[in-house]
């Protein structure tokens, strides 16, 4: 007969090896200390904290978080209210960032050649 985990029968530990110590070992086996309810609850609290909760709510939460991050990233790049603007070539041959607020700026990505 095997136990719940498929372990086979335990060889006769109460046999010849124990001999005259057998009554002492038997007494010890009969008096195994039991964990109290407080310890059990602490162990179960650890289990709840350390193991993964069921995935049915985790995936939507993760997707929402990813969407928020992506949205924030895009807003960071484009600005909350993108304005008409872009790069303009300066007279000295360098590019500069302009916006529609500049009176004579070129249009968005409309790189006008001057001078």
């Amino acid at each position: 007969m095997t136990d719940i985990n498929g372990r086979g029968p335990i060889p006769g530990v109460t046999g010849e090896d124990e001999g005259d110590l057998a009554p002492f070992f038997a007494a010890a086996r009969a008096s195994r200390p039991e964990p109290d309810a407080r310890l059990l609850e602490a162990v179960l609290a650890d289990a709840a904290a350390e193991t993964q909760p069921a995935p049915r709510w985790r995936w939507p939460a993760a997707a929402a978080l990813a969407a928020s991050v992506a949205a924030g990233f895009l807003i960071g790049i484009t600005g909350i209210a993108p304005l008409d603007g872009g790069l303009a070539l300066s007279a000295d041959g360098t590019f500069e960032i302009v916006s529609a607020l500049d009176s004579d700026a070129a249009g968005f990505f409309d790189l006008g050649w001057e001078g």
Binding site: I10, P11, L21, A28, E34, V43, A54
Partner: protein, 198 residues
């Protein structure tokens, strides 16, 4: 209040590996079954190694915590869960014993039966388990662990060897020396403990 091992809970007949997989997915009922199944034994080994309840509880909780942390990556083909837990608890207990070493001799002497006059009267009030526990504390830690695992927890010798990461022959040697020492300490007390032939 003891937590009660015999509670009827669905899934009690399930093997450890399957329960641990469920626990890893956040199944609290599976974690509870595993805790009820293994916590008493882990606690017993720790307490018999240390001779002190509060420290043993710390170690039992820590061993179970390490199990939960490992749950998601647990390999069913590896060591039995019980073997792994015993190993973790035993190593934690031995670490604790080594850290407290400067005070250990006093603790052991306090736990040992009084060998002086009147000792028999004092011993008569103790039960056999208490006498064994006291004698165990006088053994070297590896002999103590081997005796506890083999003769009290009733693990097969091969599993004791696996827990202790020793050969079966080395375990047998530890057991033989441990039993010899226990006999020397306990057999003179047989009459005082209500056993014939003392």
């Amino acid at each position: 209040m003891a937590c009660g091992r015999g509670a009827e809970i669905s899934g009690e007949g399930e093997a450890d590996d399957a329960l641990l997989a469920r626990a890893a997915a956040g199944d609290g009922a599976a974690a509870r079954i595993l805790a009820l199944r293994h916590l008493p034994r882990v606690l017993a080994v720790a307490e018999r190694m240390l001779g002190e309840r509060a420290e043993a509880e710390d170690i039992a909780q820590e061993a179970m915590l390490r199990l939960w942390r490992r749950a998601e990556d647990w390999q069913p083909d590896g060591a039995q869960l019980s073997t792994w837990l015993y190993r973790v608890a035993a190593n934690l207990a031995i670490d604790r014993l080594r850290r407290r070493r400067p005070g250990a001799p006093l603790a052991v002497l306090e736990a040992l039966p009084d060998p002086g006059p009147g000792a028999e009267t004092a011993l008569a009030r103790r039960d056999r388990a208490a006498a064994l526990d006291a004698a165990l504390l006088a053994l070297p830690e590896r002999q103590r662990l081997a005796i506890v695992l083999r003769h009290i927890e009733e693990l097969p010798q091969e599993e004791v060897a696996s827990v202790m990461e020793l050969s079966v022959e080395a375990v047998e040697s530890l057991l033989s020396r441990g039993r010899r020492s226990l006999r020397a300490m306990l057999l003179p007390q047989r009459a005082a403990l209500g056993l014939e032939g003392g």
